[in-house]
Amino acid sequence: MASVEFQNVSKSFGAFNALPDISFSIADGEFVCLLGPSGCGKTTSLRMIAGLETPTSGKVLIGGRDVTYLHPKDRQISMVFQDYALYPHMNLADNIAYPLKVRGEAEDKRHARAREVADVLKIGDLMKRLPSQISGGQQQRTSLARALVYPSQVYLFDEPLSNLDAKLRLEARGFLNHLQRDMGMTAVYVTHDQAEAMALATRIAVMDKGRIVQFAPPIEIYRRPATTFVANFVGNPPMNLVPAQAAIIDGKLQLRAEGLDVTALPVSDTIARAVGAKSITLGVRPEHLRIARPDDSNVITGELFANENMGPESLVTIERKDAGRVTARIFTDDEIRVDKTVRLSFDAEHVTLFDSTGARIPAHGE
């Protein structure tokens, strides 16, 4: 196991600047998820760790060693590919043992080792099958086994679960989490699925347009998203964002927008400074919204748009007139009865504010 470091790495493909300038470091034993929409540069970053792409400038270090121009085979890394990249003409035993074969291990020895790993992954009795003769979930575990069969400094995952159906994905995710706890491996994991990143990562790097917007533990990203982009990307459904006009009246923050009635938020110096720009975005997570009682303050009012009962929870979405929608996630298995006009309320402590540039304003008392 080893650390991974990017020092001012940039990457262009012809005229397209995929990564302008990116620096980060991943400590030994960390499980880092690169999270972002497609085209944000997360896969390119991963492929530069693997050596499948060469940076246009900057340095890539693995275990403190400069590997920027090293061939993948000399980096002591493992990688799981999105399409699994299993060899269709080899059975599972040969597929899993292939990295050992190229290292010159004897056939019985490498097959024994492959079997060992396969047993851990519960595919030990499929060793004579071809990849086309096993299910998608089993293929995924086979590609994982091939990555685990030899000792590596860093384990790289390129959206390894995205080809699985929802149920298998949950199962595989849990297994990866277990494996990480067991092995304590250094891993870099690319995904566009925020739930996967939240569940697996010790730290998440949220990327947008070739930049890391926030690099923090999952709970930090959830509680204190650095920008509206992060807020909108993490959480299911994502954080509700309501642009509003701000004013400080009698030492309290007032926010005005269509359907929004917020008159008494606490004010800090940073908030006061941000309010100078007048425009502020209010962020509230759906799970922090509830159907308002008559005497509640901090209320958002709108027309009912959708009322989805999901079993243990319900999603109630309202539409503010000529403005955006707001979704509340309410944890109850009772059917929620609402009128045509719905009032949702929230507590002041659950409010996240963003300034006019979209950056988060540190909360009161922070």
Partner: protein, 302 residues
Amino acid sequence: MKKFSLLSTRAGALFLAPATALVGVFVIIPFFWVIFVSFTNRTLLGRTALDPDFVGLQNYFALFNPATFFARGQFGFSLILTIQFVLLSALIGQALLGLILSWLSQTVSPSIKSFLQTTVIAAWILPEVVIGFAWFAFLDYDNGTLNMIMRGLGLPPGDWLLQQPFWVIVFFNTWRGAAFSMMLFNSAFQSIPPSYFQAADVAGATSWQKLRDIALPLIRGHVVTDLILITMWTFNVFTPFLLTNGGPSYRTELLSIYTYRIAFKDFEFGKGAAVGVVIMLINLAFALVYLRLAHKKPVEAE
């Protein structure tokens, strides 16, 4: 279920008629005519031109006569020469060179790759007569390019077409045909998902290991197709005639050239037709193997 048809049977037959007539006149009838002629002693001139005798298998016995079979200028000599020519110029030359070029071009930058492909394909699309003449000029003793290079390097010039005629046509045919194999292997390699090679890279495989363990097993069908096609083409190729005329003293007289000499220089139509029938049978054997392999389903696991 009613079968949907675009045209009535009669209209369809009408449209097919011209092609059928042409194929019949120029392919089917000559085909049977050659088989018929091979059982006669028909010649261009003399009594047997007008009134050939039916001689049974005599022409075939003459071809396979053990006393003269291996003598220069005889059928057996040409057959063995052709087999050597196919092995060296098609299987080893074209296929191996094409495979190596194609594999190496997978790793170079796209611009170098397209330049390489253009160059190699240029050798393939030029008309036979043009390249025949170009090679003739290249190998000329007094003013040939090769000898100019040799002299420039301080090496003794050679009269290649006289001294090494067989190797000249082997090199010529390799040069001429490697492009086809290269292009075929190129497209075969491109049909393999890049992640297969990337996974092997990450796992620590060398280029040779990737070729042996991943690329070759996955393009096995393409390799078989390529080998069969170039074997058949090389077996029937006539272009070396432009360089050596089959000589000197029959040393480059491949079967196709032998047939040409017997039928159209010695004007022994009967014997020439017999050679043609034997060549056709050999090609038929290749074609059957090819069709057999082409229709074979991909291997299933035991």
